[in-house]
């Protein structure tokens, strides 16, 4: 319980005004209605049950998974036993009389992503009639105002036909309701495939998916939570979602040159995915972005257990000084200086001044184009 409390507090950093999920009068075949979602832009994370979406979300967004995420089979409507609301994650769980639970995300997940995007997680194509019915009845609501669709495929799945079928029905819904949405397909759990076959299998899947997705365009990535591919895929997704990323990079380079930094990174606030970076010389470790992200997210989790929230960090030794600090409303910045003689205060003042400039940069680009706007 303490965890959910402190998570809420942490979430306050991200959220402007907090909206409680209103549970209106039940309607429709199952008695649920979703509140009006016209305003929010969504990121839909969909895929078959058990394809790894919850783990993926937990890893990327540093959400503590409070229960066993394995879906345990179908629930039948008349065995609905109890309803549990985990409001910190805004998930609804249904527990039937045998103890099987089904969790699903509804609107108002309080995890904000890239500014005003809200992450919604849906099991698509499960076996049970409950989910099928719910899905069909609420389809328009679910697929309206979608900015990004991320569809997760389990590479080990034995029912390729069915997976493609469900994917196609999601695409149809997208075409009807949010035709401008960007589509990303993740072929997940690639670590279970033998190393020498991975490229081959991924290429096959990619071709199939590209073909099926016409006329929509989809970008495919192969991912696994046990290597750097997951982080890279999501970083690429974020990268493609930012319209003015080249300008951002140019400004970052100017910033870095002015303050004589070795490397400057811009992280997205909720996920610590690298939005853009500048480095003035070759760095040895290619995995450093993911490592920093994991370290900070782990630190954030520890902070939240103490009802504290992470704000900034300075690491120093005789060879370097690194600063991680809040930058704009949706980003963090990390500055690495290899000249330790420059006092910290100087760098911090520089960062503070640059902050104002970058916020202006975000606002200048206009509401329609820039996603980093409040």
């Amino acid at each position: 319980m303490e965890e959910s409390d402190s998570e809420k507090k942490m979430e306050k950093e991200n959220v402007g005004s907090r909206m409680d999920p209103p549970i209106g009068e039940p309607e429709g075949s199952l008695g649920w209605v979703l509140p009006n979602t016209a305003m929010k832009k969504k990121v839909l994370l969909m895929g078959k049950s058990g394809s790894g979406k919850t783990s993926m979300r937990s890893i990327i967004f540093a959400n503590y998974i409070a229960r066993d995420t394995r879906r345990l089979g179908a629930t039948i409507l008349d065995r609905l036993h109890s309803l549990q609301i985990n409001s910190s994650l805004s998930t609804y769980s249904l527990v039937d009389s045998v103890g099987n639970t089904k969790t699903f995300d509804v609107e108002h997940s309080h995890v904000r992503f890239l500014g005003n995007l809200v992450l919604n997680l849906w099991d698509c194509g499960g076996q049970d009639t409950f989910m099928e019915n719910y899905f069909t009845s609420q389809r328009d609501n679910i697929f309206r105002n979608v900015e990004v669709l991320i569809y997760v495929f389990d590479v080990e799945s034995r029912e390729l036909e069915k997976d493609m079928h469900y994917y196609q029905s999601c695409l149809e819904a997208i075409l009807q309701n949010s035709p401008d949405a960007k589509i990303f397909c993740l072929v997940h759990k690639m670590d279970l495939v033998q190393e020498d076959q991975r490229d081959l299998i991924f290429k096959e899947r990619e071709e199939d998916l590209r073909r099926l997705s016409r006329p929509l365009e989809c970008s495919c990535f192969r991912t696994s939570i046990w290597d750097e591919t997951l982080y890279k895929a999501w970083s690429s997704i974020v990268y493609q979602l930012i319209p003015n990323v080249q300008q951002l990079e140019m400004n970052l380079r100017n910033f870095a040159e002015i303050i004589e930094a070795d490397e400057v990174l811009l992280f997205e606030r909720a996920t610590f995915l690298v939005i853009s970076h500048y480095q003035c010389k070759e760095q040895r470790d290619a995995h450093r972005f993911e490592k920093i992200s994991n370290i900070i997210k782990q630190f954030k989790l520890s902070c939240s257990k103490l009802a504290a929230s992470f704000q900034s960090m300075e690491v120093r030794n005789s060879n370097f000084a690194a600063f991680i600090d809040i930058f704009t409303s949706n980003t963090y910045v990390m500055v690495v200086m290899s000249d330790p003689s420059i006092p910290s205060a100087a760098t911090l003042i520089n960062i503070r001044n640059a902050r104002k400039h970058f916020e202006k940069l975000e606002r200048v680009d206009g509401p329609k184009q820039c996603l980093l706007m409040r």
Binding site: D227, N294, A346
Partner: protein
């Protein structure tokens, strides 16, 4: 820090001012600080940790924070975690320790080493009784029985090795065969496997005591005779040779005195010696003083260093047998069913005595899993096991056949072959004296190891602690030693002891458990077919028959 020396004073003042500013600017908190001596220089050319490994390390740390410990969803699967050889335990102060290779499949032993270890462990003192066993079974029957028993025990050993693979629901990497028995039969399985294991251990220890008394007696006699220049083989029926072969049992049936071979009426010195140095009356007791203290040691790892003595002894025995055979020549005649004055029939009905001996001779089933665990290429386990069994069979056949065939039959009957074939050589025979010394030393070093194993198993299961107190251990050791002494005094027939204990513990570990467990696991997977069922039940019946028949022979 040391770099401060490089700063100019101006920089120092600037630094100081800005640091004060920092104190105001940044909320006051004490920074986390590591002593400089503990920081490893990052610019070291030697990269201690690969980037991939450190990224994986961070990933695993982070994921472990995301779920409750019981949740298996984010635990790193085996194919992702690096091999134990590549794992280092890092101390925050900079040093790293390599993990001891612990898990299966990462053993360090090549096939050759594994085969040798299996051969070495199986070669026990039952090798001394094989010629007697062949004599009891008849020459042809003996050879056939040895080969068949080898194949049968090999198959059962194969079943033991494969038994863990049939259990899929539990992690069995640290299991030995008694654990498998416990899994299938519950605590009955555990206790019965413990009991039978103890039977084999204590049987072996009794045999060792008898043999050690024998060898010590002969060694002492040799030394005494050597010093006093006594030649005492005349009274014992043997060949007329500089290095005779004797028939002690024939003489002992003539002379009721058990142990005194000759007596000189006038030589009281010798009589005194004979009185105080008697194979069955005194020497077993002298051994107590030597071995009982050794048994009480907490850890016998010191004795495992002498493992090589066992191999040397066997190799020397092979050499001895070859030499003697060369010297004595072959004496074989084939009479199929009827005994003659000097020869035994080819087919005799006492062949179960040989099977009893062979059950213990081919016994390794209670520790084969541990021996094969360290094999580098686990897929070669079955092949290596078969090769080892083949080598053991060949060794037994070689020694058994050569001793039997070269036993000088015209003057002596084949029936004279003793249960310990070294007894057929007088104590004055130099080559066998050397063999006895080797074997004596080897047994004295293995005896505490066996005692330790018995103690660990018995006390570990009853009291939960392998060394509850000196009194428990002392009582256990006294019981074991006492049994050995009693047997040495009253029933020093090692062939008999070997076949009874072999058939008893072999019944469980060799015949019943492997077959039964295999049948049960097949039945659970619904793959049990009638031929397999009949075959394995037949094996179980063979095992029971083996034990029962020992008491009728």
């Amino acid at each position: 820090m040391e770099d401060k020396k490089l700063f100019s004073s101006m920089a120092d003042i600037q630094n100081f001012c800005l640091n004060v500013l920092c104190q105001v600017y940044i909320p006051f908190s004490r920074p986390f600080y590591i002593e400089p001596t503990n920081i490893v220089n990052v610019n070291d050319v030697i990269q201690r940790v690969s980037d991939h490994a450190s990224a994986m390390n961070k990933r695993i740390h982070y994921y472990s924070r995301l779920t409750a410990p019981a949740d298996k969803a984010l635990i790193a699967p085996d194919h992702v975690v690096p091999a134990p050889e590549e794992c280092y335990v890092y101390s925050p102060l900079g040093s790293a320790y390599k993990l001891q290779s612990y898990t299966e499949g990462y053993g360090k032993n090549t096939s050759l080493v594994t085969i040798f270890m299996i051969w070495n462990t199986m070669m026990g003192t039952s090798i001394l009784s094989i010629p007697w066993g062949i004599k009891q079974a008849g020459f042809t029957t003996g050879m056939i029985v040895i080969i068949l028993m080898g194949l049968l025990t090999l198959y059962c050993c194969y079943r033991v090795v494969k038994s863990r693979a049939m259990i899929s629901s539990v992690d069995t990497t640290t299991w030995e065969y008694p654990d498998v028995c416990r899994y299938y039969f519950g605590s009955f399985g555990q206790w019965s496997s413990l009991l039978f294991s103890l039977v084999s251990l204590i049987g072996a220890m009794i045999v060792y005591w008898v043999l050690m008394s024998n060898f010590l007696f002969n060694t002492g006699k040799f030394i005494f005779n050597f010093i006093h220049h006594i030649n005492d083989t005349d009274a014992v029926p043997g060949t007329n040779d500089s290095n005779p072969v004797i028939c002690p049992s024939a003489s002992s049936s003539n002379h009721p005195d058990n142990g005194s071979m000759i007596f000189y009426a006038n030589d009281t010195g010798l009589q005194q010696f004979e009185k105080w140095w008697n194979k069955s009356k005194t020497v077993p007791f002298y051994l107590i003083g030597l071995l009982l203290p050794l048994l009480n040691f907490k850890s016998p790892s010191f004795f495992s260093k002498f493992n090589i003595l066992g191999t040397v002894s066997v190799l020397y025995l092979i050499f001895l047998v070859t030499f003697k055979a060369f010297h004595l020549g072959f004496h074989l005649e084939f009479h199929w069913f009827l005994p003659t004055e000097f020869f035994v029939p080819e087919i005799r009905f006492q062949f179960p005595q040989l099977t009893g001996v062979l059950t213990l001779a081919f016994f390794i089933h209670n520790c084969i899993i541990t021996l094969l665990k360290n094999n580098k290429n686990q897929e070669n386990n079955v092949r290596d096991l078969s090769i080892a069994y083949m080598l053991v069979t060949l060794t037994y056949l070689y020694i058994g056949v050569l001793v039997f065939a070269s036993f000088p039959s015209p003057p002596l009957s084949k029936d004279c072959i003793e249960q310990n074939f070294l007894d057929n050589f007088p104590s004055s025979d130099i080559l066998s004296f050397i063999a006895r010394i080797f074997l004596l030393f080897q047994m004295m070093t293995v005896y505490p190891l066996l005692g330790y194993l018995a103690r660990v198993q018995l006390l570990g299961h009853i009291f939960g602690d392998i060394y509850p107190s000196i009194f428990h251990v002392l009582i256990l050791n006294l019981v074991i030693v006492g049994a050995g002494v009693i047997m040495a005094c009253f029933y020093p027939n090692i062939g008999g002891i070997i076949r009874y204990s072999g058939a008893a513990c072999g019944l469980a570990f060799v015949f019943i458990y492997p077959s039964l467990i295999y049948m049960i696991s097949l039945y659970q997977e619904e793959r049990l077919t009638w031929p397999k069922f009949i075959f394995h039940v037949f094996i179980i019946i063979l095992g029971l028959a083996n034990l029962v028949v020992q008491f009728f022979m």
